[in-house]
């Protein structure tokens, strides 16, 4: 079994790695007698970190990378000449259990290329989850991909075993999707999303009546969009995310900077490097919407359809709205303190708690973890007047905060000695 499994695992992990989602959050389930595993909830546990800096929480693997579709952005498209493999259900189940018992992983993230038809593929995914849960009494995390076009019955069955399910939108704009993946449409994505949502809502309702009614996808669903493969602006992407977050059960939207896997396809841009900075800015904007109470129109609008790559979206918003500043740390609402660049959720909470005991000063803020380098231009805290964003003007603050190009940062981990001229 060894050589063969090794080969298959390598092929199928390499095929699955472009899926971004990895989180093992959202469900709390204690261990059971006779079972294996639990899920801790909170932010989940990442067991390792790959050299590209992404975390490894779940065993992210495809059941098979054969596929009947020919989507231009996908490594596993029918037309690609890559090694193909298929794991059997029992092989994958055993692998998951053994990895889990060695504390390598938090659970399984299972996806698959579409073979024969969506229902056939989905059925095999469900069988893996079912085997794990019923035969091996596995209580760890299971994230199942819902295959676009799968039937409602199968999605409903999958939801009983999975903690989280996801369907990838991939391309935010339907016309671009049609261009890159002629065999797919948005309806085939939104339909299973609807099934998952409905199943979860029904189960929640049911559980109000009967405490032991089965849970359905307790950690909700997620989705993913590819960034930089097509011409969408950040405004298109973020508006769609915002709409998705408005739906119940949608927990996460992931953004995947397009890695040029199919360079020969003329429909795709020839990128040397994936758009990592843009991807990062999108995540920051996503965080603003989820944790900082920003609306999407505040982050991107008609005049600024794309995010500023030089400064983060929160700072960009603050620079566009100097009239909102300075914020008095000792008086302002929590919501307003959250909007100060350099102050995050954690520090904002600390500030609101601590100021009941006495006035806070810049020194206190610094010790609490606020990034004063950015925050200093946007706050007052009862100290000597410093020059803020209104005195220096947004452009001035911007030039102070954006590192001038061409002066490389001191390399990390390198000792350096600075000799100062001492006056004699």
């Amino acid at each position: 079994m060894k050589e063969d499994t090794l080969r298959k695992l390598k092929i199928l992990a390499e095929s699955a790695k472009y899926d971004v989602s990895c989180s093992s959050s959202g469900t709390v389930r204690r261990g059971t007698k006779g079972g294996v595993g639990n899920t801790v909830g909170g932010v989940g546990i990442c067991h390792s970190f790959a050299e590209d800096g992404r975390c490894i929480s779940l065993l992210k693997v495809m059941l098979t990378n054969y596929c009947i579709y020919d989507c231009a952005y996908c490594i596993n498209r029918r037309g690609n000449d890559i090694p193909r493999a298929t794991l059997s259900v029992s092989e994958l189940v055993e692998l998951t259990m053994e990895f889990y018992k060695r504390n390598y992983i938090e659970g399984l993230f299972l996806s698959s290329g579409v073979v024969r038809n969506p229902d056939y593929t989905m059925e095999r995914l469900v069988r893996v989850a079912k085997d794990l849960r019923t035969v091996h009494r596995f209580n760890g995390y299971i994230h199942l991909k819902s295959i676009p076009g799968a039937s409602r019955e199968l999605v409903n069955e999958a939801g009983l075993y999975a903690d989280r399910m996801s369907v990838n939108i991939e391309i935010p704009n339907e016309s671009s999707l049609k261009l890159l993946a002629p065999e797919k449409d948005h309806a085939s994505v939104y339909r299973p999303m609807g099934y998952i949502q409905q199943g979860a809502l029904e189960s929640a309702e049911e559980r109000k009546k009967h405490r032991h009614a089965p849970r359905f996808v307790p950690a909700g669903q997620s989705t993913q969009m590819i960034v930089g493969a097509t011409g969408e602006s950040d405004r298109d992407i973020l508006s769609l995310s915002s709409a998705l977050y408005g739906r119940p059960t949608m927990r996460r939207v992931y953004y995947s900077g397009y890695v040029a896997v199919n360079t020969y396809d003329p429909r795709l841009p020839a990128l040397k490097l994936p758009p990592l900075v843009r991807e990062n800015r999108l995540y920051q904007a996503d965080w603003l919407m989820r944790f900082y109470q920003f609306r999407v129109e505040e982050i991107v609008d008609e005049a600024h359809p794309d995010l500023d790559l030089e400064v983060d979206p929160k700072l960009a918003w603050a620079l566009r709205h100097p009239e909102q500043f300075p914020v008095d740390i000792n008086r302002a609402d929590y919501e307003m303190i959250l909007r100060v660049p350099g102050i995050g959720v954690k520090s904002a909470r600390l500030i609101v708690c601590s100021r009941r005991f006495g006035r806070l000063t810049g020194f206190d803020l610094k010790k609490m973890g606020c990034v004063m380098k950015r925050a200093q231009y946007f706050i007052t805290c009862g100290e000597l007047e410093a020059k803020g964003v209104n005195e220096l003007h947004p452009e001035g603050v911007r030039s102070l905060l954006v590192r001038p190009k061409g002066r490389p940062k001191q390399p990390d981990g390198q000792l350096s000695f600075v000799f100062k001229e001492e006056p004699v």
Partner: protein
């Protein structure tokens, strides 16, 4: 020449009970320490040393007062911060307890107070180390079916992760051993037991915690190889980011990580 006031140093064994006793003694004897030293440490010159003898009665009285003044979460924060084993924590922790006892309302959210902030941050560091151990423990299956792992955490967090693993692997037998502090927890029959070994035990001769071929389960080598293969395969070469890699997975943990071993 006479001293204006005598300066006191408290010697204690860095346990929660002793700390509470120290608070009791300080108020009872009206001697407030300028510093703490651990058991057996040499006291600084020109000070008087008061040896704190842990006393359940005294500690209990202080603790019940604390319970009235602080929330359960803050109490956990105080008790868990001790796992950091930091000598510089002694004074802030002592002052925190004194302030909490004196104050009419809870001081736990006053993060402008340096002692509260320091204790809270220490607690956070302990929690982070605990999470890291939950992440980075790697079990090897031994020939008799026990799962074995060696760790070397920065703080003494092993007792804090035992409940997690007891819940997670409740049907297995496992042993997690802290090499630096020379003790471990062995879990069998749904019960974790604290264990230590003689200095001559084979466990101290495993430089990177790896079991030899003869001690391992027959398939152990294969699964380790599979995991290493997976670890390499999942990385996207176009996105290599060694700085972030080392930040999330600090090099000091690599020694015991299966995927980083060769």
């Amino acid at each position: 020449m006479t001293h204006a006031a005598e300066e006191w140093v408290f010697a204690y064994d860095r346990t929660w009970e002793s700390l509470l006793t120290a608070v009791f003694d300080a108020y009872a004897l009206r001697r407030f320490p300028v510093a703490f030293i651990g058991e057996g440490e040499v006291a600084p010159l020109f000070v008087s040393v008061h040896r704190v003898v842990p006393d359940e009665e005294k500690a209990g009285r202080v603790f019940r007062t604390l319970q009235r003044k602080l929330s359960a979460g803050a109490l956990t924060c105080l008790t868990s911060s001790l796992y950091a084993e930091l000598p510089e924590l002694d004074m802030p922790l002592f002052r925190y307890v004194c302030k909490a006892v004196k104050s009419a309302r809870s001081i736990e959210t006053n993060f402008a107070d340096p002692d509260v902030l320091f204790v809270t941050n220490t607690y956070r560091n302990v929690r982070r180390e605990r999470l890291r151990m939950m992440q980075f423990v790697r079990f090897q299956k031994t020939a008799d079916g026990t799962y074995f792992s060696m760790i070397e955490p920065d703080y003494d967090v092993l007792p804090l992760i035992v409940p997690h693993f007891s819940d997670r692997f409740s049907e297995e037998r496992w042993l997690i051993f802290d090499r630096r502090r020379r003790y471990g927890y062995y879990y069998a029959d749904r019960r974790p037991v604290r264990v230590t070994f003689d200095d001559s035990a084979a466990i101290f001769r495993l430089p990177d915690g790896r079991l030899g071929e003869e001690l391992r389960d027959a398939d152990e080598g294969m699964y380790q190889e599979l995991w290493r293969t997976y670890f390499k395969a999942i990385c996207i070469k176009e996105r290599l980011n060694p700085r972030k890699h080392r930040k999330d997975l600090p090099v000091r943990y690599w020694k015991y990580l299966t995927e980083k071993q060769r």
